[in-house]
Each structure stands twice: as structure tokens, then as C-alpha cells.
């Protein structure tokens, strides 16, 4: 089980995340990259601020990876998440999954980002010109 997890307050490196999952016995890698969008619901975003409950976030990230290995024939799994202040265009999360065949890589990668957004204790605040809001906090 090749499993790589990272929380970092400095810029993430896409190439190194992908390199972690490359292997001669894999035929397909699916990579998801989440970036900071310049607008949300029509409002201009100046920056995002990510905060993590780091020890628990890493535990939940590991749980996601382990479930991916259980459910699909995945070869390697890497998930890097950024914390701190991010400006528009910066990378907030990278998930790379390799497998012998592509279906497992796609399924596991999509499962991983969907589940991350539901269960990993990381929070983001959107900062606009006229205020700020913790995303998803209120119904």
C-alpha cells in the first residue's frame, strides 16, 4: 500500500505528487487538482484562508486512502492539501491515484475528493472585497 499524505502551508507541487504514485506496473494515473477560483456565486474572491485540525485531518485523509485501497485495485495514492492563505489560481489540493487500469484510478480519485470535502476537518474562509465567509458553515 503506497500511501502519501501531506498538509503544507507552503505551495504544493503537482509534479512531485504525481511522481509519488508513478510505477512501472501502473498503466493509468488520475489526478485531481483543486484551485482557487476568482469568483463564487458571482462575487469576486480576493483570497482563501484554509485552516486544518492537522492531526485529525491527516487521520481522516489516511482513512480515505485506506478505503480507496479496499474498494478498488489501486496501486498508489497521494493526497496533498494546502493550509494558510491562498490567492486566486493557487493549488489547494492535489490527489493522484495510480492503478494498473484506468477505471480504478478514476473511481478512487473521485471518491477521495468527494469524501475529503465531506469528512476531513479542514475549513476555508472566502475573503471578498466587502467581507468574508466560512464556506458551507450555514444552511
Amino acid at each position: 500500500m503506497n500511501l502519501f499524505l501531506k498538509l503544507s502551508d507552503t505551495p504544493l507541487d503537482i509534479q512531485s505528487c504525481i511522481r509519488e504514485v508513478e510505477s512501472p506496473s501502473c498503466g493509468g494515473i488520475d489526478v485531481f487538482i483543486g484551485t482557487v477560483r476568482d469568483a463564487t456565486q458571482g462575487k469576486r474572491v480576493l483570497r482563501l484562508e484554509f485552516e486544518a485540525y492537522e492531526s485529525m485531518a491527516l487521520k481522516e485523509m489516511r482513512r480515505i486512502a485506506e478505503e480507496a485501497f479496499e474498494r478498488w485495485p489501486v496501486q498508489s495514492f497521494s493526497m496533498h492539501h494546502r493550509t494558510g492563505v491562498l490567492t486566486v489560481g493557487e493549488v489547494a489540493v492535489i490527489i493522484a491515484v495510480s492503478a494498473a487500469h484506468r477505471a480504478a484510478a478514476f473511481d478512487a480519485c473521485r471518491f477521495a475528493i468527494d469524501t475529503l470535502k465531506q469528512s476531513v476537518p479542514i475549513w476555508k474562509k472566502e475573503v471578498f472585497e466587502d467581507g468574508e465567509v466560512w464556506v458551507a458553515a450555514h444552511p
Binding site: 483543486g34 484554509f50 485552516e51 486544518a52 485540525y53 492531526s55 485529525m56 485531518a57 487521520k59 492539501h81 489547494a92 489540493v93 475528493i113 475529503l116 470535502k117 465531506q118 469528512s119 476531513v120 476537518p121 479542514i122 475549513w123 476555508k124 474562509k125 466560512w134 464556506v135 458551507a136 458553515a137 450555514h138 444552511p139
Partner: protein, 80 residues
């Protein structure tokens, strides 16, 4: 017993600090602690969800809080 509670995101804003201390009876359950917190900080009840983590795991309502446990308020997550 006294319990130190970590807060994050909007819960930190609501509680006014990244670590708060509450005084609850021994053998308090996670559910009872949530009720206690919701009374002390009514805005927690307005969140889309409001969970507790105990020792870095999401806590079931009936799980007991023990002295020394690492307890955290988990408002709606929004990573990614």
C-alpha cells in the same frame, strides 16, 4: 470536571478563542457536552452541522468524555 475544547473555523469565531474550557459533570456524553456548548454559544446551533471529535475521531452521541480527552468542535468542513 473541566474539559479543554479546541475550536476551528467559524466555531472559533463563535466561541471567541481557539481553545475554550468548560465545566461539566463527570461521565458527560458527547451529546450532553454539545447541549452544554449550544447553551453557552447559541450561534453553534445555527450552523449547518456541529459535531464533536474526541481524540481525533468523530464522536458518537453516546460516547463518554473522560478527563484528558482531546475534544474539538467540528463545524461544517469545507476543505478541497
Amino acid at each position: 470536571m473541566q474539559i479543554d475544547i479546541l475550536t476551528f473555523g467559524i466555531a472559533r469565531d463563535i466561541c471567541g478563542g481557539s481553545r475554550i474550557r468548560v465545566d461539566v459533570p463527570d461521565d458527560t456524553t458527547a451529546e450532553a457536552l454539545k447541549q452544554h456548548l449550544a447553551e453557552q454559544f447559541p450561534r453553534l446551533s445555527g450552523l449547518a452541522s456541529f459535531l464533536l471529535a474526541v481524540n481525533e475521531e468523530f464522536a458518537a452521541d453516546n460516547s463518554l468524555i473522560r478527563p484528558g480527552d482531546e475534544v474539538a468542535i467540528i463545524p461544517p468542513v469545507s476543505g478541497g
